[in-house]
């Protein structure tokens, strides 16, 4: 007998947690199927463990990581403390063409990647939602900022987002908690850049899902700075810290770890999903779960993989793929251009506290004037800090004075700008089922074929130029340009594999994240995205999820599903 619930949520990360919370709070008995293990914060969160309690002092069990996590290790958060939150690559294979490397960074556990995410949260604007249609690229988003703005507010009020209101039309302000201040060096950098670039380039506080005061039963951040290891005070937003506990409070939530969803079960008579087929992660046995609504929140590539593995006579290339777009239009952001420099100021001042994020430079390209080389834009993350003892690993000297300087003094202010840019949707960037590859649970695995195009490469070049310009303008010294050749995937913002649109012939989802072909299936993770903007996407996933649940439950109550 199948397990039966009102709603199924596949995945427990950022968007799955929100789906669970909203469905449960609206009274639906909801099961969250999570492929990975349960997490016990009292055991698994290790943010306060000092390095001397780790065998390699935080440098990681290199041989083990190289053997079992050759892809995951490319993410800096996959270290001796947090490597356990990243998948074993041998159990979770995927293939790529030789000339198109793709770094698929994954976390399979209750909480998913929301445990180790970057926590930057920026609203999108109509500069983003209208970009495709204005430029004739891919398809138009079926929503505009006004459709999602109230939902941004809704999720921000619950999650707790710190940020400074800047009044930018293209980076709308949100429902912010007071931000941490810029430090004295960043403040001066802001003033110099504003002056030299006539207000067109702005250094502002990073907008982050980290609490600066107690909020909704969660404590203000204490600035230990080790967010990717977990947070026992629940101070940053994750599904484990915030949405799943809220869902649990309703009494309507069941979380089933070790539940690897194989496929969606389709009923051709009703044209609805009956539920999902699941492989038990421990016993490898299969079982079914039935429900009235299915939310796929397994991540952009995994949700599409489930549908590609759900072939039927009606949908021979994957469930809900009448458009032919399922699995196509894979996107990530592009990162890696920027610069670092020494700021020759305030040697008698320092910052106090380990901020997990510091500053953000909102997009300034193609906002008011068109750039000749590329469309869309990018922003910079970064910050300024004074060097600590670790500068001793590369600076000159040894002996008593060297030691004393490392203990008692600080290095100069060092600042970095690191760019994150938009990637255009392209049909040829795609995932498909690899006929020769299965994962550890016998489920057919993916072949990912994705590469950056000329627009992204030109943008990367420009990041180096503009970061260097800003440092020159502020009188920085020792400017070191940065240009990292990162393969796609490594930004960990995969999107686009089941895009939203206005036309069922060219998109997989409608304006409410509902599958055109299978109306009781909703997808609200990165798969749904029609373009990437340059801003970090998670707050948009959260808002789209809450909005989609509201719509889905409305349909259910009106018996329209």
């Amino acid at each position: 007998m199948p397990l039966t619930y009102d709603a199924i949520v596949v995945g427990s990360g950022i968007s799955g947690g929100w789906a669970a919370k909203e469905l449960c709070e609206k009274g639906l008995k909801t099961i969250v199927l999570e492929a990975g293990r349960p997490i016990d914060p009292n055991v698994d969160y290790v943010e306060h463990v000092p390095p001397h309690e780790m065998r390699y002092r935080g440098m990681g069990d290199r041989n083990r990581i190289e053997r079992y996590q050759p892809v995951q290790r490319r993410c800096s958060a996959c270290n001796e403390y947090s490597g356990k939150f990243f998948v074993n690559d041998l159990d979770n294979p995927y293939s790529t063409p030789d000339d198109k490397p793709f770094m698929w960074i994954r976390g399979r556990q209750v909480g998913g990647r929301s445990i180790m995410w970057g926590r930057h949260t920026y609203r999108w604007s109509d500069l983003d939602y209208e970009a495709n249609v204005r430029q004739g690229i891919a398809v138009d988003w079926p929503i505009r900022y006004k459709d999602i703005a109230p939902w941004y507010s809704y999720v921000e009020r619950f999650a707790g987002i710190q940020g400074a209101k800047e009044g930018l039309a293209h980076l709308p302000d949100g429902e912010f908690l007071p931000p941490w201040p810029l430090n004295v060096a960043e403040q001066r950098a802001r003033e110099e850049v504003l002056k030299k670039f006539d207000g067109q380039r702005l250094i502002t506080q990073a907008r982050q899902a980290i609490l600066t005061r107690n909020h909704n039963g969660r404590a203000a951040c204490h600035l230990c700075g080790n967010c990717e290891r977990g947070c026992i005070t629940l101070s940053y937003f994750s599904s484990l810290n915030a949405t799943l506990p809220a869902a649990r409070k309703t009494g309507n939530l069941t979380v089933r770890p070790f539940s690897v969803v194989h496929s969606v079960i389709y009923d051709p008579k009703t044209h609805r999903a009956k539920g999902v087929r699941v492989v038990d992660g421990n016993t490898r046995t299969m079982f079914d779960v039935h429900a009235k609504i299915v939310f796929l929140n397994a991540s952009a590539l995994e949700s599409a993989r489930i549908l590609l593995n759900s072939k039927t006579a009606e949908f021979p290339t994957g469930l809900g793929n009448s458009s032919g777009e399922l699995g196509h239009n894979v996107m990530d952001h592009i990162m890696g251009g920027g610069a670092s420099a020494t700021l020759p100021w305030y040697k008698d001042r320092r910052g106090l506290g380990n901020r997990p994020g510091a500053v953000f430079v909102p997009r300034f390209r193609n906002v008011k004037t068109a750039h000749p080389d590329f469309v869309r834009g990018y922003g910079f993350e970064g910050g300024a800090e004074r060097g600590d003892w670790s500068r001793g690993t590369w600076m000159s000297g040894f002996g008593a004075d060297f030691k004393k300087a490392l203990i008692s003094d600080l290095g100069p202010w060092e600042m970095t700008f690191y760019g994150f840019g938009e990637m255009l949707p392209r049909h040829e960037n795609r995932i498909e089922i690899d006929p020769h590859l299965v994962d550890a649970w016998g489920i057919p695995a993916l072949r990912v074929s994705c590469a950056y195009g000329e627009n992204e490469k030109k943008m990367l070049d420009d990041m180096v130029v503009t970061a260097t310009e800003m440092f020159e303008a502020m009188g920085a010294e020792n400017i070191r340009p940065i240009k990292d050749d990162n393969p796609p995937g490594l930004v960990i913002h995969e999107m686009g594999t089941a895009r939203m649109g206005r036309d069922p012939k060219t998109s997989v989802l409608n304006a409410h994240n509902q599958m055109w072909d299978v109306p009781n299936v909703f997808i609200t993770d990165g798969a749904c995205m029609t373009s990437t903007a340059n801003q970090n996407p998670s707050i948009t996933y959260m808002a789209l999820t809450a909005r989609a649940v509201d719509y889905a439950v409305g349909l259910l109550r009106r018996r329209e599903l």
């Binding site: 390699y56 204490h222 590369w394 203990i407």
Partner: protein, 188 residues
């Protein structure tokens, strides 16, 4: 402490020909076991290499009014990294570089009354040689490479050791909000 080490040492204890007959003997046995459990022997560096590494570590971060690299067991940490963390290639490069440091010292030694190894040099000569090696620490091989890696590992191992982390740096984990403009003067 790794499980396999505990098992190895407990195995040695169980092989003792007699069990302690009284409380004092039991305590002595316990203390001895504890010492052996926490004093992991070197596994990669042989005795001359240990002496060389120990000497240079202490020159990089000497004992002053605060502990030096040797008293917080940096050489043992370096040996652990060589045994379990470094690749075979990195280990070979490093050990070859140590040999090269002694070769440089030998060349030095001809002018300094025929002494042969780094550890045998007079303090001033050691300082002179390390000063030269510090300028070469970006080298891709040889003595410069070995010194560069030794220095990185010494600094990292020293500042992440428990005594330094807790008592010298007095590392703070908790802050009442971020403060971005705090007066700072280097301690004298």
């Amino acid at each position: 402490m790794q499980r396999r080490e505990v098992v190895r040492y407990l195995g040695a204890a169980f092989a003792l020909p007699f069990l302690p007959r009284n409380a004092d003997a039991a305590i002595r046995l316990g203390e001895d076991l504890h010492r052996r459990l926490t004093d992991t022997s070197f596994r990669t560096l042989d005795t001359p290499q240990q002496m060389l590494v120990t000497d240079i570590c202490e020159m990089i971060i000497p004992e002053t009014d605060t502990p030096g690299a040797v008293s917080v067991r940096v050489p043992q940490f370096i040996d652990l990294l060589l045994a379990e963390w470094a690749s075979d290639e990195e280990k070979a490069e490093f050990l070859a570089g140590l040999t090269d440091i002694d070769a440089r010292a030998a060349a030095f030694g001809v002018q300094q009354q025929g002494q042969r190894r780094f550890v045998d040099l007079a303090p001033a000569a050691k300082t002179e040689l390390l000063t030269a090696l510090d300028r070469e620490r970006g080298a891709k091989s040889g003595a410069g490479l070995a010194f560069g890696r030794l220095k990185s590992m010494t600094v990292y191992g020293y500042f992440t050791s428990k005594p330094v982390y807790e008592n010298v740096l007095r590392t703070r984990m908790y802050f009442d909000g971020y403060k971005g403009d705090v007066p700072f003067t280097a301690a004298r």
